[in-house]
Symmetry: C2
């Protein structure tokens, strides 16, 4: 029988009613002839509640203990789901990350999966039992409980799908798929029926929140077809699959925006070889994830260097910039937090050279100034003033004719 | 360094303040020169909350999943305790039952401990780390998560103390020790400074609720000195230790009462050999735990048989009695739920023959009728009308001069 790995996020198992609805859906999937491995997150706000409790107890939270604490959340949701399945007459058994054989490195709170053994899951499936696996968690090579960090449950699901040779990995969430733009910004945004891994990676990297970058990378690398869909309507959602080279690709599939970054400019940097390199080496050494970079043309032997990085890392970036500035004699640091990145993503861009021009024209027509630009073969991103970001998304969505047919 | 296993029950870790107080106490114990292994229960009402949630989700609760669900409780309390210890500068690490090497049989919800490996706890101790172990849970030989049932955390603590060769096992709870009687019934009851395992077993078996029978049996069999004390006052409590044959024992150490049983009488049972045996065999086969038994002298070739058993098992007992009654021609079943067992316990009873007489006289003097009697070498129990139980306890407490000195 084909195997479906079905992952249910926190909102999908938020209360007793939702858990029973999920059990119904799993039972239905089995009646339709598929084997199922379920992966669950902690119920709704459980993780937040546990973190608040930890804050009440101590200001120090060793990663090992934080992982022990947070992994209690999935235990609860998976045991409850198994009980709900039992009531429907479906034999089910819960498995912790450890029991499922999800072996990770020892980096607590953001461990990487090293290996998925899955022997007990295969045994359960062979016995006609639905394995219900705790998402987000594993066991380290030091036999300690670990968590996988942001998007961890999606990663668990994709890793299990790869290890068990699943036909598909279904990611159930509170939205009904991947859209041409955030429907809260663009009410006419359409749900995409399918999208390539590469496009999904660009969307995830530029502000799309439906899937984590990491789980999409894992799925692409292991050729696991993803199906992102709603656990509230259960309707078909968006397939994330390998690009089909025999088909023509849409020039632009989606427009995204991201307000999580800030821009830092260092003025009057001596324009000598090696100076820029020493800045970005220092930033990298301090774990600042630099995204866009612009260097102005030189005036009087100096230049201005601007770059963007996550807002949360700007404190460190400022410190690095100041130290370097003193050493090389740069003039000042200008931090701009009121910026947003607006991107268009589409596999067809590779063969359609006019996209950049269309994008710039559309933004210029409504008076939106472009501060910085970065591109990949299937993406163009512009940094704009934060207050214009939503308007920029709407304008681009219309310019690339992504609106749903009236 | 001497090792103390310190067990903290649900009320002792009920909230953030209590957890910090427990961490303080562990840190103090270490400063005073002892190694510590902590064993914790789930916080306060966690278990009740989880059971309520399970009830909302499903009417069917497979034992394996119930164990998975409930064991999340100790994960939370032990991780939080480790964080509180970290804040005090005490290195600590939490261990699940599985990580601590507590191997059980496969009887979910009331598993028996088969073996305590404890290798990781020994390693932690050698590294100067305080192991904080989840009480109440283990891992079965089938590698599933199990729970130990009622009194399970005490049993975990005693089993670890035995396996690790601890100097003592301290059971912290919300009362300050073992008393000569329940202080809610006898305000003048005294805390006992020490008591023998045998006496404690009798007290636990006849209504004393401070320690579970099972953990005391385990401690006696493995010669683990127990210290029952309060986590609210931290004052010394009651030591439960081997009887010291060189010392004179108190004739009566404590008076207990138990209202959890009911009495069933089967009238006009044919007085032939084997009839009583077939009744009690049938009861045993149906897992009815018979306690006291009385058979009246025979009239006209028939006799009345009365016995007590837990109230919760009386439905089954009635059914067994009815079936047997029809087969052998007994006349009727009389269920009396308004009964209580009142007991006096004391190691000195063995060498003091007058205890029974004193007990009967004291009860007779206030007009309390004795319905049934059972004895052990260090205990005498009387079944009385439930409404007279508290008065009986007070009268006996006074008759055996157990009141605290004025």
């Amino acid at each position: 029988m084909p195997l479906a790995v079905q992952k249910f996020g926190g909102t999908s198992v938020a209360d007793a009613d939702r858990i029973r609805a999920v059990a119904d859906h799993i039972a239905r999937t089995r009646r339709e002839g598929d084997d199922v491995v379920a992966v669950v997150s902690a119920m709704g706000k459980t993780t937040d509640d546990l973190l608040r409790l930890a804050g009440d107890v101590s200001s120090i939270r060793p990663g090992r203990e934080l992982d022990m604490l947070l992994t209690s959340g999935e235990r609860i949701s998976m045991a409850l789901l198994c009980m709900a399945l039992a009531e429907l007459g479906v034999a089910a058994a819960s498995f912790t990350g450890s029991q499922a054989g999800i072996i990770t490195d020892e980096t607590h709170t953001k461990a990487k999966i090293l290996e998925v053994r899955g022997d007990r899951l295969r045994e359960a499936l062979a016995d006609g039992v639905v394995p219900v696996v705790a998402g987000f968690q594993g066991v380290s090579t030091a036999r300690d409980v670990t968590t996988l960090g942001r998007g961890g449950s999606d990663t668990t699901a994709v890793a299990l799908a790869a290890a068990l040779g699943a036909a598909r990995c279904e990611i159930y969430t509170d939205v009904s798929g991947v859209f041409t733009a955030d429907p809260r910004i663009v009410p006419t945004a359409r749900r995409l029926g399918r999208i390539s891994f590469e496009e999904m990676l660009e969307i995830a990297a530029t502000g799309g929140r439906v899937l984590s970058l990491r789980s999409v990378e894992f799925a692409r690398n292991h050729h696991v077809p993803l199906h992102v869909r709603s656990s509230f309507t259960w309707e078909p959602g968006t397939w994330v699959i390998e690009e089909d080279p025999s088909m023509e690709q849409p020039i632009v599939s989606a427009v995204t925006s991201d307000t999580s970054e800030a821009k830092l400019t260092i003025t009057k940097v001596p324009d000598r070889p090696g100076i820029a390199a020493s800045l970005f080496r220092a930033l990298a050494d301090n774990n600042v994830n630099v995204d866009m970079i612009v260097q102005n043309t030189s005036h009087d032997g100096t230049t201005d260097i601007s770059f963007t990085a996550p807002r949360s890392e700007m404190g460190v970036a400022m410190k690095v910039g100041e130290e370097l500035g003193q050493r090389i004699g740069a003039s000042e640091l200008l931090l701009d937090e009121a910026v947003a990145q607006v991107s268009v993503v589409g596999a067809g861009m590779r063969t359609n050279p006019g996209v950049t021009a269309t994008m710039f024209e559309a933004l210029a027509a409504v008076g939106i100034n472009i501060q910085m630009i970065s591109t990949s073969p299937i993406r163009i991103s512009c940094l704009v003033e934060a207050s214009t970001a939503d308007r920029a998304v709407r304008v681009l969505h219309e310019a690339f004719e992504l609106d749903s047919p009236a």
